[in-house]
């Protein structure tokens, strides 16, 4: 059993990607889908020509090479100051660090939500903006999509496993869940879409912007979980992963509930409204 876990850990660590990986985006969308009202689900299904939001869970990434969607390329990260305040877009645009300059996800999210709330869009525009919201809100519940201007060096953190070097950010994005659970999409729902109404109310309380700001302290603390250059063996890696998966699985759940709340707000006139700011 022990050796088996070591093998899993080794293989998990070598898997590479650049965002919440596809299975996590799909899992988040599935949790959101599970929490849509019937009215919202009906309207969204119609908008997606019979498909669900799970099918389009990472729309922005799926269209990364499409010229028509090139404006979304900087809608991946959000930049924060050392005081956990959002770095204004104008300041971010002038920053010397590329990750900070490209951290325009909040602007993308707000512009998409504004467009959806104001109405007057074509079906295609409505669809695209809704799918932008889903991808961006998913990403903004992944700690590595928060670029803290005082922790830029920590974004380069790495560790060794059996003398091979691996990126900490990559671990988070790809294996913070899969390093522990072999969940398919339906299992994300079964395991994580089980909050009480009171817990859901707490998670979805406040505005979209307040959600993003509220995540910052926890996501900052994630950088404390690894001393760069740490050398793991199978056992120490497993124990280290035990600190991470409770956070990652909870953030996946929170993202799903919040996406459901905003979609219900937009596509069900009887659902509680969610403020953007």
């Amino acid at each position: 059993m022990k050796k088996f876990i070591i093998i899993i850990a080794a293989l998990c660590c070598t898997y590479n990607a650049s965002a919440w990986s596809r299975h996590i985006h799909a899992g988040i969308a599935a949790i959101a889908h599970d929490n849509l009202t019937e009215e919202a689900k009906k309207n969204i299904t119609e908008l997606l020509d019979g498909k669900s939001i799970i099918y389009h869970a990472q729309f922005v990434y799926d269209n990364a090479d499409n010229e028509a969607y090139k404006h979304t390329k900087v809608w991946k990260n959000v930049a924060f100051t050392d005081k956990n305040k959002i770095l204004k877009a104008k300041k971010a645009a002038k920053h010397e660090n590329k990750d900070v300059r490209n951290a325009q996800a909040l602007e993308g999210l707000i512009s998409s939500l504004n467009a959806l709330q104001s109405g007057g869009l074509t079906k295609e525009q409505t669809r695209d903006n809704m799918l932008y919201v889903i991808t961006i809100l998913s990403d903004l519940h992944c700690p590595t999509h928060y670029v803290f201007t005082d922790l830029l060096e920590k974004r380069k953190s790495f560790y060794y496993f059996n003398d091979k070097k691996y990126s900490y950010l990559t671990y988070w994005e790809s294996n913070s869940v899969r390093g522990t659970f072999n969940w398919k999409t339906n299992e994300f729902v079964h395991q994580l879409s089980r909050k009480t109404p009171e817990q859901v109310a707490d998670i979805t309380n406040g505005s979209v912007t307040s959600w993003i700001i509220g995540n910052a302290p926890l996501y900052r603390s994630v950088y404390d979980l690894l001393n760069t250059g740490t050398r793991f063996d199978g056992q120490t890696l497993r124990l280290w992963q035990n600190k991470i998966y409770p956070i990652s699985t909870e953030q996946v759940a929170v993202a799903g509930y919040r996406i459901a709340a905003i979609l219900n707000s937009l596509f069900d006139s009887n659902a509680p409204q969610v403020k953007i700011k």
């Binding site: 088996f4 072999n182 497993r238």
Partner: protein, 258 residues
């Protein structure tokens, strides 16, 4: 090169090659058990797990096995046959580990409301895992089978590792635990009641028999493949997982349906 490695690993993840008896098997046991919990037992259990499912904690004991506070549980994962009775440092007989722990926990939990929340929480995690372990053929630790190695192709692996990984995977690597539970949980209420009858000691005796059978079926030349071994013992693996699920449900219902 990077793309090749990535593709290879993606394929492995997609097919579940990395997950076998550990994650796959234990989660499947817990999924089957969960489906057979009474509503009251399920609600009581989840109130001690902060709303989480027992499946979430199915492999928790393995994940935390090397954590120093868990040192005391290291031996709990395996049993041995009483013909091969173990003794402690003073020469006193030591009962089979996981079975005796299961019995101890069941007894301790008989009045679970009188225990601290944290003790109930960890006892649930122990039961969910140990009932699975006691049904895994290679968790009956025979002196002869413990060091035994087999060859699959050019690779030499321990029998224990083969059962932890390759056996279940050889046929079911495309199924998630939840899907596998759906496939395996197909017995009638009468059959399930029969599986759930008896005691952990009875189930242990049964496990020993299955373990002997699983070891005896290893080809004389120790060369294993899907054709020569895995496909022949997959029924045993499926049987043990399914029965573990039903029996875990019976144990948990007996504790928490009140």
């Amino acid at each position: 090169m990077k793309k090749t490695i990535l593709s290879l690993l993606l394929a492995m993840f997609a097919t579940g090659t990395l997950w076998a008896w550990g994650g796959q098997g234990h989660s499947t046991v817990a999924y089957i058990a969960e489906k057979h919990l009474t509503p009251r037992a399920k609600a009581n259990i989840e109130s001690y797990l902060n709303g989480r499912s027992i499946v979430y904690y199915a492999a928790w004991m393995d994940f935390n096995r090397t954590d120093p506070p868990m040192d005391v549980t290291r031996d709990w994962h395996v049993d041995y046959w009483t013909d091969d009775m173990r003794t402690d440092a003073n020469g006193n007989p030591v009962p089979p580990y996981s079975v005796s722990q299961i019995k101890r926990i069941v007894s301790e939990m008989s009045d679970f409301r009188s225990l601290s929340d944290s003790l109930v929480n960890i006892n649930i995690k122990f039961l969910v895992h140990l009932v699975g372990d006691m049904h895994c053929p290679v968790h009956i630790d025979f002196p002869t089978s413990r060091p035994m190695k087999v060859k699959e192709g050019k690779n030499t692996i321990k029998v224990h590792k083969m059962w932890d990984g390759r056996v279940l995977d050889s046929k079911h690597n495309g199924l998630s635990p939840q899907q596998m539970a759906i496939e395996l949980d197909r017995y009638s209420a009468t059959e399930i009641a029969a599986f759930q009858s008896g005691t952990p000691d009875d189930w242990h005796i049964e496990s020993v028999e299955y373990s002997k059978r699983a070891i005896d079926m290893i080809p004389a030349n120790k060369q294993v493949s899907y054709e020569t071994y895995f496909n022949k013992v997959i029924d045993i693996a499926e049987n043990r997982i399914t029965l573990a699920g039903y029996r875990l449900a019976a144990i948990l219902n007996s504790i928490f349906d009140k």
